[in-house]
Symmetry: C2
Subunit: 351 residues, 2 copies
Amino acid sequence: MRALTVRPGTAGSLEVTDVPEPSPADGELLVDGIALGICGTDKEISRGEYGDPPPGRERLVLGHESLGRVRSAPEGSGFSTGDLVVGVVRRPDPVPCGACAHGEPDMCRNGRYTERGITGLDGYGSPVWTVEPDYAVKLDPSLERTGMLMEPTSVVAKAWEQVERVGERAWFSPHRALITGAGPIGLLAALLAVQRGLETHVLDVVSDGPKPELVRALGATYHHDGLENAVKGAEPDVVIEATGVSSVVFGAIAHNARYGIVCLTGVSSGGRTIEVDGGALNREIVLENDVVIGSVNANRRHFAHAADALARADADWLERLVSRRVPLERAAEAFEAREDDVKVVVELGAG
Amino acid sequence: MRALTVRPGTAGSLEVTDVPEPSPADGELLVDGIALGICGTDKEISRGEYGDPPPGRERLVLGHESLGRVRSAPEGSGFSTGDLVVGVVRRPDPVPCGACAHGEPDMCRNGRYTERGITGLDGYGSPVWTVEPDYAVKLDPSLERTGMLMEPTSVVAKAWEQVERVGERAWFSPHRALITGAGPIGLLAALLAVQRGLETHVLDVVSDGPKPELVRALGATYHHDGLENAVKGAEPDVVIEATGVSSVVFGAIAHNARYGIVCLTGVSSGGRTIEVDGGALNREIVLENDVVIGSVNANRRHFAHAADALARADADWLERLVSRRVPLERAAEAFEAREDDVKVVVELGAG
């Protein structure tokens, strides 16, 4: 079959190539791929900055934002032919750390995990793929065109779970949320904020294109004139940070409410320094009992929360997050940055 | 009676002056003061940098690290004549915020709290004081000479509680703790770390004096050659930061273990900037699922935890934390910084 593959560590090696069709191991589901979402991590891998092929191989099947339809499922697996399904990304090492042994490889302590389409395991960028039922999540049939939003939604479902569990360390009754960054992660974080009944604000830098409208369609408020203006007189109880930009990160920590929680989800590069009033920042965090949480990846529980959140969302709004759909043979176009792109999707054939 | 008083906002106004002896309001305890611990906040107030007198008054009775013996207690208060007792510091506004209404004024959201000896309420720096039973905590009789360590212990009991509640947001099994700063807060944080069975490390800058010995007497490891050397090959799962020094704060955030938790307790001044690789710091927090917690003050629950922790501690070790004891009339000497001081105490007369 054809598949979207890359030679990790080699820039420009992204290609649609022939690979053997996978056959399911004992107990696994065989899945017809419908679509694949493309994100920043995929672009990093395609630039040779990140990723590892499976052991003994040179090329990796790319793709971790999956959506497929079950072609065959073992009896007792909990899945049936025709089910819409998404695969979890991370797997624990055969000798798991404590977190991995407790079903939380997203919190892995020893770093010896693998990730479908990223690190050591083929991804979901092919018309046929397999997945273990324990790492598969069934979707509502209404998500046939937008279910590839599940993986980024699982990331924000984890972020929100972390915020809530950390918030509940004492009395907690948040009212206002600020999301920094209106890419797919930011917009989906805003969706989950609105679903929680929070007064929701989203900050980005663009003043036109689809983002302001997508924010307003949620009933949230869009800001594009800087963080300090966005929070003036209305400091947020919770910030979900999705830009990774240092000035925004430090600004969000400095400008939240008492007992404020900032959840960082943006993966930034190092190597550029910024001047920070470290004393004032420390004082603010201490005197306000603030918390800063880092959150990455997601486990099966978060995928299940994401499936619930997407099933409750407005189907048209989800559809509008998908800016472009390109067929597998032209997958390279999904890696081009175009103005007004939110989420770009590769179509894999099944429907 | 004589009392340690200050005119908040006026540097050099610290004095032992005559004030009326308080009489207990309905339901309150009348307490004979034994001793008062002096801390950095007291010094800030004495320098005119902080604090507010009670409404309509110019001078404030200073002191929030209390220890006394109950002279009289109302029936049904839970206290009896002769009990060793310590007073909680913070009180909610008459119109409490949600946190204050839930018994957590340490987590106050509107900032309209008062604090004994700091903000709007007389402190415990007098031979007689009163306290509401709801804001009083009974101590083990063995703490007659060291019970004034309760307030700083309540601060670290809160810090440890916050760390544990935040840690338990997912699988949590910490092994190694690093305490930065070997002042009273740091040493008491180390005591509580050892009581939790953690491999405990303490970092400070001095290489002699009482601090290294006090750390070793706990069974903990003392470091004085910088943070990076202290954590080399042994990154801590939990850091309790008690210096407020920016380079230490950012170093602790950068050099902890995966799923690391840094609890900031040091109150620093602003106005000095530091160069930080904000992108690398953000990336580390996100990819490791790290958390930074600010923790200030303590509520009655934390004072109760502190009372348990001190009752379990080695009495001689606690006694060694008290470097000097000065009588009330010479209280000003307790505000002088002397080499090898850990905790300096003002004696108030009762025993």
